[in-house]
Symmetry: C2
Amino acid sequence: MSVFGCICISTRTFCKSITQNIFSTNKNLEIYRFCSKNLYSTEIGPNLTKLVYSTMAPGKKVTVVGCGNWGTAAAKTISENAAKFDLFDDTVRMWVLEEQVDGMKLSEMINTLHENKKYLPSIKLPHNLVAVPDLNECVKDADLFIFVIPHQFVKSTAAKIKASGNLKPDAVAISLIKGVAILDNKPVLISDIIEEELGIPCAALSGANVATCIANEEFSEATIGCADVEQARVWQRLFDRPYFKISCIKDPTGIQIYGAIKNVVALSAGFCDGLGLGSNTKAAIIRIGLKEIHRFAEEFFPAVSKDVVFESAGVADLITTCIGGRNVRCAAEFARHKGARPWEEIEKEFLNGQKLQGVSTCAEVHEILKACGKAALFPLFEVTHKISFEAADPSELIKAFSTEKLEPVL
Amino acid sequence: MSVFGCICISTRTFCKSITQNIFSTNKNLEIYRFCSKNLYSTEIGPNLTKLVYSTMAPGKKVTVVGCGNWGTAAAKTISENAAKFDLFDDTVRMWVLEEQVDGMKLSEMINTLHENKKYLPSIKLPHNLVAVPDLNECVKDADLFIFVIPHQFVKSTAAKIKASGNLKPDAVAISLIKGVAILDNKPVLISDIIEEELGIPCAALSGANVATCIANEEFSEATIGCADVEQARVWQRLFDRPYFKISCIKDPTGIQIYGAIKNVVALSAGFCDGLGLGSNTKAAIIRIGLKEIHRFAEEFFPAVSKDVVFESAGVADLITTCIGGRNVRCAAEFARHKGARPWEEIEKEFLNGQKLQGVSTCAEVHEILKACGKAALFPLFEVTHKISFEAADPSELIKAFSTEKLEPVL
């Protein structure tokens, strides 16, 4: 029985018998090796024909737009799957903004040494991951775009891709970018910017994802938000690895709002640490933050669902961000000095001068809420802003909630 | 204007003007001092008449059933409110199972030294909290029962209260007990046991509540689950303090399931610590635990709502339990020794021989799931049981989730 016969016949019964062999015995190892490249869902049963992806169709070409810490870690994961499943073209292209690193071009380093010493040192990258410094060449004929660049460059980069004339009309995109843009004092989803600029659908992926941990294959999870189920399956098959488990929900909005705003809550949680408050209190502040994140999402994107809370992009990312992480450490230092040490100085000491995400997001969220007159509905975000930028004493954090007033009973 | 005049006239307009004074100026301090005893909601507006509780009605008599660590801390909080609000009788009675402490009776110690040196040392208790060793006397004419005893004693204690003949037919109860009972291999809510034994409604209160922290007035929160809105308002007024903020949801079920089962997840989280796993992984395990807690609740109590997740009894209690706490510490020790140190030995070292809640709950949950054939739906609970009781290596925790299999896309 030839492998092509298997795929081309593709009748329900035949596929089922093959797949049963695959799963129940090791007799058909040759077929297994072939078919495993083609399975992109684990459903077993009447819909089995769906499972076998025709080898007659070329594999989807994947382009990663970005080569930073998270971009490179994600590209490594993706490349492992691209090599394994015929659903994808073997080669994964990664757009690299060229620079000199250790006396050589970054793209050359990735393509010859298979390492990104600048952004993801000590991690061996798969050979099928190819760095391409020319954006036009990198995106040519791509079917799947993974955006993972700083959010301020998304619009211009997407515009360049569109202008290249190389964009396939049925391409799709996913954003791995944590953050939201702001337009007319309202939050705008990165996926919406990509959709608008490229004219193709854009999903989102987020989760409790420290890039280096995933590159080291420490067990992690992420959530994909994608309105289209078939597209979600393709993205899941592209990202899911035994050490990086992906669940999918239909809502790309919640994913992105949680990913962006959680850093404000991390500042509040850090203030708790700096004030020496106990776990009861810190848990209360994180919970209030969770509610305000969701309220923020509902305020600006009324269709957002509550499902994201249960996902890695929801509660898990919030927990890990509020327990450890740079925002918490820096905010604790800020509170210990009662705001007398400026953020810039703390950033210099703790982050080698890199900017703290939570601080800028806190300022942006405040501007958005002030502009729409809804600040009073977000007491945690507001008091965190007052402490961060208006010289309020860090102890105000708790005073804001320690009131005689009762919560309304609904 | 006399205070009684204010209360007895009780017209909408008049109340509103008084309350506006109360909230907008300090002119009517005398009225404020009086009215603040009678306000049990913060609603301002057309329903203001509801806010003023008639002084002609006697204050509700409060009885705390239990005098342990959490019982005494809760009784302190309650007594502060009972002294302040006319809605309640000044005296709060606390049932004390008599014992000798430091050469004196525990009830005498509480009533004369105003301290419970055995269960809540170094905390001054309000003078209006009265310890009563006789159960019949303690519950006589009580309107509000707070149950806070070990769950195995609930049924028998409630039966004794019923048998006393002193139970008012319009009394109501609330359970502060974390845990569920098991009957015919199914979980039974403590509030349901109390409702059945006493024939009165029973709400539930739970949250991220370390008793000593609340007794020390460190800022904390809790959630009341109560199907009846008016009753919820009374419970909220009884428990809410500036340092202990209470929100209410209609669902007493979720409150109790989360409070009971979270300790199993704390074991899993502790194994992560013992295995030296990073924050990505621990966040993933906590999230999987959250989903399984909710699935467990839905399996046995289909009417349970998702709202509890956002509350202190939900995500906050889970976070604080999985970050610190005795279950996590002991489970980490267990994992470090690859299960070679028995739980009893670890309990002896870490807890002075007290039993670890998570370990017994883990065994109970396993029995329940085995009996109904649903174990496969709860991989985290199951692998935690295998590690805890069936000599599985702690590293199995991650292997259970690190699979090639994709999560179904819904």
